[in-house]
Symmetry: C2
Subunit: 103 residues, 2 copies
DNA sequence: TTCAACAGTTCAATATTCCCGAACTATTAA
DNA sequence: TTAATAGTTCGGGAATATTGAACTGTTGAA
């Protein structure tokens, strides 16, 4: 099964990071990861209704934006927020976005 | 000639605001407006090469995101950043984004 | 007054990106 | 083995973005 590639944060452009956050579903996923530390893909999903392939795509985009790390554990994929690295790369950005997230 | 519609900031969703900022050209335009107060469309352009119709579209999107206000002055359109309103709606967001903008 | 130039918008066609069903891969439990 | 689970990848239709060409309004000059 695919092994994921995680970019170095210094290689992530701001546009890409903002683009990743500029989607309600992905932002909800990031918020869940910010609250939960470790989440399987299906548990990171923003809602029940979202198709698996769409979810997988969102997670891929979040990885490319340096926001999450995914590791395999048995047949599950465990996702975590790369919070400290992301904060070092874009100080204050994630805080500001999460703080302004709709309820 | 068209008269522009400017949304109330409370009607602007976070996604839309982030999407507007998640583009290098638009972000550059916002940065210029943040530095200059009042700018004609062509002076707000991120570079020489960008076509007029594309520029016009970017400005429309920035208007829809509540980031700028456009008023007519003779045959020119004058754009200004709706800084204080935007900051009230999304505290800290624009600062964080601008601060992390590439040089 | 026309008329040409200017500043920008709108339209429509093309190009790009996104979404999601279907097929696939890998791992585990029976 | 086999069936179930957890997710990825592929491909095609839907939605967005880009941009050249035509258009609208405004101004200054003949």
């Amino acid at each position: 099964m695919a092994r994921f590639t995680h970019p170095r944060l210094e290689d992530v452009p701001l546009d890409l990071a903002l683009h990743a956050l500029a989607d309600p579903n992905r932002l909800e996923m990031v918020a869940r990861l910010a609250a939960a530390e470790r989440l399987r893909c299906s548990d990171a999903a923003p809602c029940e209704a979202i198709p698996k392939s769409t979810l997988s795509n969102h997670l891929k985009l979040l990885r490319a934006a340096g926001l999450i790390e995914t590791t395999q554990a048995g047949r599950e994929m465990i996702n975590t927020l790369r919070r400290s690295e992301f904060d070092r790369r874009f100080p204050g950005l994630l805080d500001a976005v999460l703080a302004n997230r709709p309820a």
